[in-house]
């Protein structure tokens, strides 16, 4: 790659390009668009868990001032795509997504069963409380622990034995049992809720009878456009989805939910734009969650610390109508060099709403079991946990039998150990104190596939030397626009302040959901392809402005600082603006797509992270304070160390929540969540989070994508919770295998 003037843009901590809008309140989220004649909607959740709605009494609500409509299955217009036995939207998992107001069936407590429309929010809220339902109630089943024996193999695995969800055996089943040193343990991960700060919101507007616009909190404008086009039987171009700013999502915007369809139905029926913002309690059961998961790990090693076998069973919760699955056991298959590995993954349908992928989906849950078990076995072997991991390090993927595209996990272990002060760690639990507090050190490894998908990007180089890019991709917080500006700057040779990257609009070129840590690799590659196509175009037109470029080849030219010059004789140069002018063009407008090539399939591609944690535990109260965290990531080349560092810090913060406080609890007598707000469902606040040191290996992986990047968002959280749990054990000698590690479990 040429050493460019703007080469330093990659890796530079450029401030966020949309930062000013976010700190001044100018950034507009889905519930903040003022459309003419806008009316307000409030959804009404079911108060039973399973059964049928016998009757809806909306008279009092309709009598209430300002109310325009009360819509339920009794009077909702028919959604044309809602055919029987066919799903209206692409199911992200399997089964039949819940259709809004489709019939009188209730599948879970809190299911949206009516929507009230009024001219003001207050009137809609008041009237929503006046709608009364009579039900025929059935007996529900929501208790995971009582029913976990009823877990089933997912349909996908039944149909395809090669599916990653199918039973996996390498070597001999349960070989660990005959090892010199063994551990067997059960781990429980409770239900966790994404709870982004922005409540799920949609503003739906029918411009004409067959043209729909939605301002919607989603992670993909194109997938949402496809889903609603199918649901309403419309040409795709008649559906417009706008998500310019997304106030966090962490996965809950990867599925289109019934409340979205409810708002669209309402907008069609009242013939006015309808705005619906869910309430915080709705976020617990209307928009997915990380499922309750039970796991069992058996692991054995030789006396010198070589793992001889791992058996890992996981059972995760799903709903009765959709099969939600995730890659809970994936890390166990490829992380350590064990000749014998068996994994079993099952799902347990309950009368609950459908889960959805939450940051580090599957792997974060699986890593809690695997990395705790590694710590337990290291302790049984009287080995340092880092040495134990190094003794079982793999230089190729033991599952796929392929070389890694890149793997710098050893570097992460080395740097992290030094920065946290691992040498101070006591091998014996409870061996360190700071005043009255017990001090413990723990670590956990994280990994996630370095995915890349297909995308297209439009680039418009204008006569004034500025350039505008467009992609349908959303930015849920990582700083996608900023990273894309930096990538574009390096590849087109234009300063970042002359580059605009527009996103979050389905009118723009194709991009997948923002998810799976794949956005920079996917959309960034399309930015590079578009830049290259523009450069080709500039090269063919350059001779009109400067004859000496007539026979120049691409590799002989430096594109930099808004101009092209010959590498051999830099004085021969011409600006992009001059090329456009001399060719009588106002702009160059190109849409280019990019997708991974087959060559990359010859490698196993993963990002890696290691989290080191120092905790203080109070011996009397059981309070756990995370005192220091050091996180090291192998995520390829880092485009922006400021935003990437922030993403790591955020993942660690989520991991602290998972380890110490987050726990969504259902009262099984009623099948209803008793944790429905931030007073009952605790997430980390300022006081829970110390300074977090982050380090990047920052070495490129050009097999994954032309920028050399690998995904970062998921590995930021995967491995954090076990690091905390292992540190708590090191401090106290108490092994807590059921998250969260609350004080009652330590005293």
């Amino acid at each position: 790659m040429n050493k460019l003037f703007f080469d330093k843009v990659i890796g530079d901590p450029l401030n966020r390009v949309d930062g000013r809008m976010k700190v001044t309140g100018a950034a507009k989220y889905s519930a903040e668009y003022q459309l003419p004649n806008l009316v307000h909607a409030v959804v009404v959740p079911s108060t039973i868990t399973k059964g049928r709605i016998k009757s809806v009494d909306s008279k009092a609500a309709l009598r209430s001032p300002g109310v325009l409509a009360v819509i339920s299955h009794e009077n909702a217009i028919k959604v044309p795509g809602n055919a029987d036995n066919e799903h209206p939207t692409e199911p992200p998992t399997g089964g039949q997504p819940l259709r809004a107001f489709y019939n009188n069936k209730v599948y879970f407590n809190g299911q949206p069963i009516a929507i009230v429309i009024a001219d003001t929010l207050e009137r809609a809220q008041y009237a929503a409380g006046l709608v009364k339902f009579e039900y025929d109630q059935d007996k529900h089943v929501t208790d995971f622990e009582l029913n976990k024996g009823k877990g089933v193999l997912p349909e996908k695995a039944k149909k395809d034995p090669k599916s990653s969800l199918a039973d996996y055996d390498r070597g001999v089943v349960d070989a660990y049992k005959t090892a010199a040193v063994t551990v067997e343990a059960e781990y429980i991960h409770p239900t966790e809720v994404h709870n982004p700060m922005e409540l799920q919101a949609i503003t739906a507007y029918w411009e004409t009878d067959d043209k729909l616009t939605v301002y919607d909190k989603v992670q993909g404008t194109k997938p949402t456009q496809q889903a609603f086009a199918k649901e309403w039987n419309l040409p795709v171009q008649n559906v417009k989805v706008i998500s310019e700013f997304v106030g966090g999502a962490f996965g809950n915007g990867l599925h289109n939910w019934p409340h979205e369809t409810a708002a669209i139905i309402a907008a069609k029926m009242v013939k006015r734009p309808v705005k619906l913002m869910l309430r915080r309690e709705h976020m617990f059961y209307m928009v997915g969650y990380r499922p309750y998961t039970w796991q069992q790990i058996g692991m054995g090693a030789s006396a010198d610390g070589k793992i001889t076998g791992i058996s890992h069973i996981a059972i995760g919760q799903t709903s009765t109508y959709e099969e939600f699955t995730e890659s809970t056991v994936q890390q166990t298959k490829m992380m350590y060099a064990s000749p014998n590995v068996s994994t079993r993954y099952r799902i347990l349908p309950l009368d609950v709403s459908t889960p959805i992928w939450m940051r580090g989906p599957g792997e974060a849950t699986g890593a809690f079991a695997l990395e705790c078990a590694m710590d337990e076995l290291a302790f049984a072997l009287n080995m340092d946990p880092i040495q134990f991991r190094l003794a079982n390090y793999t230089d190729e993927d033991p599952e796929k039998k392929l070389p890694w595209s890149t793997k710098y996990l050893k570097e992460c272990l080395e740097v992290g150990a030094e920065k946290i002060g691992w040498s101070k760690r006591s091998m014996k639990p409870g061996g360190l104190r700071a005043g009255e507090w017990l001090v413990g050190y723990g670590m956990g490894v994280g990994t996630f596939g370095a995915h890349r998908g297909a995308a297209a990007v439009r680039g418009r180089l204008l006569a004034n030397g500025t350039i505008i890019f467009q992609s349908a991709v959303t930015d849920i917080g990582p700083g996608t626009g900023t990273a894309m500006v930096q990538i574009a700057s390096e590849h087109i040779g234009i300063a970042p302040d002359k580059i605009t990257f527009q996103l979050g609009n389905s009118d723009f070129p194709q991009a997948p959901n923002q998810g799976g840590s794949a956005t920079v690799a996917t959309v960034g590659s399309a930015v590079v392809a578009t830049c290259n196509a523009i450069k080709e175009k500039l090269l063919t037109m350059a001779p009109t402005a400067e004859k000496r470029f007539a026979n120049a080849k691409m590799e002989e030219i430096l594109f930099d600082n808004g101009q092209m010059s010959l590498l051999k004789s830099p004085s021969i140069k011409v600006s992009y603006t001059n090329i456009l002018k001399k060719n009588s063009l106002t702009e160059i407008d190109i849409i280019q797509d990019a997708k991974p090539d087959d060559e990359s399939n010859k490698y196993s591609k993963y990002s890696f992270s290691v989290h080191f944690v120092q905790v203080h535990v109070h011996p009397t109260t059981g309070q756990v304070k995370v005192n220091k965290v050091v996180t090291c990531a192998d995520a390829g080349k880092i485009v922006n160390k400021k935003t990437a560092g922030n993403q790591l810090i955020g993942g660690v913060t989520g991991g602290i929540g998972m380890a110490l406080m987050e726990d969504a609890i259902i009262d099984h007598r009623f099948g209803r969540y008793i944790t429905k707000d931030f007073a009952d469902y605790h997430v980390p606040v300022h006081a829970d989070v110390p300074q977090i040191e982050v380090y990047f290996v920052d070495k490129p992986d050009y097999i994954v994508d032309p920028m050399g990047t690998k995904g970062l968002g998921e590995i930021a959280i995967i491995g954090v919770a076990p690091a905390v749990a292992n540190a708590v054990f090191n401090a106290t000698g108490k092994r807590i295998r059921q998250l969260p590690i609350t004080p009652d479990k330590l005293i």
Binding site: R63, P65, L199
Partner: protein, 211 residues
């Protein structure tokens, strides 16, 4: 389940206004969707004109230096007044229960959770929202520090964090990282940018400017 009495008979009559007539007439149709006449009435604001006189009360607020003379229902929270009626959407709704801090504004210079206070309780008071913090194009030092230290990701909690951070310094509660964390703990950031927010507040506090 016991059958409930017919609701058609127990009409609540608050007054004999046109509006009630309209609402009652919807009952006679026996369908859940309001008939066209009622929609038309709502669109033409026949009922609202009456309601304004009956249910709304006058209110004067100074919002970001601008005097506002308003007439609102007493049940409207300060947050919903800002967002839904005045279109000042920089102030965010995150929970409606005073648990997340996203709706933090300044009332007479003091930080207040705008979701937990009714607008009518602030007659004659000065409200500052995130939109009123900068001095024209010049960012407030806290806004600039949040950008420099990347004290946010998705940006949704950011207005509340910034309003709270300014107040935190004014209160004299920003003298150490521990103190900042304690006095900022009412503002949740689910993206987890806490350390960067603490760094931004520390820098502004050390800058010693009168904010």
């Amino acid at each position: 389940m016991k059958k409930k009495p017919n609701k058609n008979t127990d009409i609540i009559v608050h007054n004999d206004s046109r509006r009630d007539f309209l609402k009652q007439s919807t009952l006679l149709t026996g369908i859940a969707l309001t008939p066209e006449i009622a929609v038309k009435a709502a669109e033409n604001q026949w009922d609202e004109k009456l309601a304004e006189a009956i249910e709304k009360i006058p209110l004067k607020l100074e919002i970001n230096g601008i005097q506002k003379t308003l007439s609102i229902e007493p049940r409207v929270t300060l947050l919903d007044l800002l967002r839904e009626q005045l279109h000042l959407t920089g102030t965010k709704k995150g929970c409606d229960y005073g648990q997340c801090g996203a709706c933090t504004v300044h009332v007479n210079g003091t930080r207040v959770l705008s979701c937990l206070t009714l607008a009518v309780m602030h007659d004659g008071e000065k409200i500052t929202t995130i939109e009123g913090l900068a001095n024209g194009d010049e960012l407030h030092p806290m806004q600039a520090a949040f950008m420099k230290h990347d004290g946010f990701q998705c940006g949704y909690c950011t207005p509340g964090q910034i309003m709270s951070a300014v107040a935190c310094i004014r209160e004299g509660h920003a003298n150490s990282e521990t103190e900042i964390r304690e006095y900022m703990s009412g503002n949740i950031c689910r993206c987890g940018a806490y350390p960067n927010i603490v760094n931004a507040i520390t820098e502004v506090n050390k800058g010693g400017k009168n904010i």
